[in-house]
C-alpha cells in the first residue's frame, strides 16, 4: 500500500484501531472496532464522525470580482441554478456530459466572494481538468490541498459541535458558516450524506487531528468508517457515483430531477446552456425509458450491485439491474437501488432478482428507505 495517499487523520485512524483499506487512491478506514453495524446504528441514534478528506475541495473565484459571473460560468457545466444561490447557502449538483450523462456529483456553496465546491475523490482530477478547460477565462480555480474535510452526522451532532463551535445550532440544512476555532478558519455546512442531520467541516490540516480528538472526546461521538457510510447513504436513497450514477445515466433516469431548478429547465429564464441539455430537457418533458427506484427484497438475502432484475420467474429479457444493494441495519433487512424500465418502475410492482441462480421476488418502493432527518 506504498502508493496510497494519507489524510491528516490517517495516523489517528490507526490509533483508534481502524481497519484501513485502499479507497479512491487513499488509505481510508473501512471500519473501527465497533464494527459496521454498530457504527451505522450509532450514527442514526447518536453522532458519527467521518473523515472525508479524500474528497476534492475547490474554490472558484471570479477574475473580475463579480461572483455572479463565476456562477454563470459554472452554470455552463452543471444544470443547477448557481447564480441565484444566496450567500452562505449550499446546493447539490452534478457535472453533465454531451450525451446527458453524469460526470460527477458535487456540492457547491456561495461563500460571498467565491464559490466553494466539494467533488468526489475518484473524479477530482478529471473534474479539476474539466473546470480548468472551460472556466479559466472567467474564474481563478484553486485546488485546496492543505485542508481536511470531516463530517459529523446524526441526531446528537448539533449538540456535540455546538460545544466546540458556538453558533452552529442556529444553522439550517444547507446553510454555510465561516467559524474560527483556536484561531483556525473553519468552513462549515449543515449537510452530509447519511440522511441524518449533521455538518461537513473543512478545516486546516494543521488542526484537523486536535479538533477531531476534541469531537471524539464528546461522549456521543464515535468514529465511523466507509463501510457504515455506504449502508447509511443507501438507506438514505443517496447515489454513489460510479454505482448508481455515471456517464451513461441521465439525471432524470437517476430520479434527480429535484436537483435541476426550474430556472434551468425548458421555459426557465436560463433554460439549458449545460452539456447534454437537449437530452436532459427532453427527458424532463417526455420522461425517460428507465428510472432509479428502491427495491425491498422479499426474504433476507441481499441483492447486491450487478444483480439482474426480471418481470417474473422465467422470462429471459431483463427489466434492469441493481446498482447498489446490501443490508440496511435501520430498515432491518436487505435493500437495493436499481434501474428499471418505465413500465416496471411503479411503486409496489413485484419483480424478480436472480440471486445465485434463483429468482427471488422484490417489491419496488419509494426512496429513501429511512426518512431524512434534515433540519429544514
Amino acid at each position: 500500500m506504498t502508493d496510497l495517499l494519507k489524510t491528516a487523520l490517517t495516523e489517528l485512524h490507526q490509533e483508534l484501531g481502524a481497519k484501513l483499506v485502499p479507497f479512491a487512491g487513499y488509505e481510508m478506514p473501512v471500519q473501527y472496532p465497533m464494527g459496521v453495524l454498530g457504527e451505522h446504528n450509532h450514527t442514526r441514534t447518536e453522532a458519527g464522525l467521518f473523515d472525508v478528506s479524500h474528497m476534492g475541495q475547490v474554490i472558484l473565484r471570479p477574475k473580475n470580482g463579480t461572483l455572479r459571473d463565476a456562477a454563470l460560468a459554472l452554470e455552463t457545466l452543471i444544470p443547477q441554478d448557481v447564480a441565484d444561490l444566496e450567500e452562505d447557502r449550499q446546493r447539490y449538483g452534478f457535472f453533465t456530459n454531451d450525451t446527458g450523462g453524469i460526470l460527477d456529483d458535487l456540492m457547491f456553496a456561495n461563500r460571498g466572494d467565491h464559490l466553494f465546491l466539494v467533488v468526489n475523490a475518484a473524479c477530482k482530477e478529471q473534474d479539476i481538468a474539466h473546470m480548468q478547460a472551460h472556466l479559466s477565462d472567467v474564474c481563478e480555480l484553486t485546488v485546496i490541498t492543505d485542508r481536511a474535510l470531516i463530517a459529523l452526522q446524526g441526531p446528537k451532532a448539533e449538540a456535540a459541535l455546538e460545544t466546540l463551535i458556538p453558533g452552529v445550532a442556529a444553522m439550517k440544512f444547507m446553510d454555510v458558516l465561516t467559524a474560527s476555532y483556536n484561531g483556525a478558519e473553519f468552513w462549515i455546512s449543515r449537510s452530509g450524506y447519511t440522511g441524518e442531520d449533521g455538518y461537513e467541516i473543512s478545516l486546516p490540516n494543521s488542526v484537523a487531528e486536535d479538533f477531531t480528538r476534541a469531537l471524539l472526546n464528546h461522549e456521543d461521538v464515535a468514529p465511523i468508517g466507509i463501510g457504515a457510510r455506504d449502508s447509511l447513504r443507501l438507506e438514505g436513497g443517496l447515489c454513489l457515483y460510479g454505482n448508481d450514477i455515471d456517464e451513461t445515466t441521465s439525471p432524470i433516469e437517476a430520479a434527480l430531477i429535484w436537483a435541476i431548478q426550474k430556472v434551468r429547465r425548458t421555459d426557465g429564464a436560463r433554460a439549458g446552456g449545460f452539456p447534454g441539455a437537449e437530452q436532459i430537457l427532453d427527458h424532463i418533458t417526455n420522461g425517460a425509458e428507465r428510472k432509479r427506484v428502491g427495491l425491498r427484497p422479499d426474504g433476507r438475502a441481499p441483492m447486491r450491485a450487478g444483480t439482474v432484475i426480471f418481470a417474473d420467474e422465467t422470462t429471459t429479457t431483463p427489466l434492469g439491474t441493481v446498482t447498489s444493494g446490501g443490508f440496511g441495519p435501520t430498515v432491518g433487512g436487505p435493500i437495493s437501488m436499481a434501474y428499471l424500465t418505465k413500465s416496471s418502475a411503479a411503486k409496489d410492482t413485484t419483480v424478480f432478482a436472480e440471486v445465485r441462480g434463483k429468482r427471488m421476488p422484490a417489491i419496488v418502493c419509494a426512496l429513501p428507505f429511512t426518512p431524512a432527518n434534515f433540519k429544514r
Partner: protein
C-alpha cells in the same frame, strides 16, 4: 476440535460433527447479515457449497468439510446471523453433519496448527 484450511471448525461427538466458522474467519468477514442454511436430511459431499453467508461486505460460501448427511441446522442464525460473529465457536455453530467416514477428520488441523496456519 479440528480446523480446516477453509476456516471451519468441527467438533465430533459420536459420528455427528458440529460445524462452524473460526473466529478468524468471522472477524475477516465482518458482521453477518444473512445466512442460507442447508436442508436437514441433505446428503453432501466434501467441498459442496452448502451454506451461503453474507456479511456487511460480501457474500461467501461455506463448503462441506467432509462427506455426510446434514442432521441439524442452527435455525436461530436465520434471524440473528451476528451470533456467528459474537460466539463463532459456540452459539454461532452452523450445522451438524453425520460423518460418513470419521477418518476424514484425521488430516484436519489441531488448534495450534490452525493458529500457525493463519499467523
Amino acid at each position: 476440535m479440528k480446523f480446516t484450511e477453509e476456516h471451519e471448525w468441527l467438533l465430533l461427538d459420536g459420528d455427528i460433527a458440529t460445524v462452524g466458522i473460526t473466529a478468524h474467519a468471522a472477524e475477516a468477514l465482518g458482521d453477518l447479515v444473512f445466512i442460507e442454511l442447508p436442508e436437514v436430511g441433505e446428503t453432501v459431499s466434501k467441498d459442496d457449497a452448502i451454506v451461503v453467508i453474507e456479511s456487511v461486505k460480501a457474500a461467501s460460501d461455506i463448503l462441506a468439510p467432509l462427506d455426510g448427511e446434514i442432521v441439524e441446522v442452527n435455525e436461530a442464525l436465520v434471524d440473528g446471523p451476528t451470533e456467528v460473529n459474537e460466539d463463532p465457536l459456540g452459539n454461532g455453530w452452523i450445522f451438524k453433519i453425520k460423518v460418513a467416514d470419521a477418518s476424514d477428520m484425521e488430516n484436519m488441523m489441531e488448534e495450534a496448527a490452525y493458529n500457525a496456519f493463519i499467523a
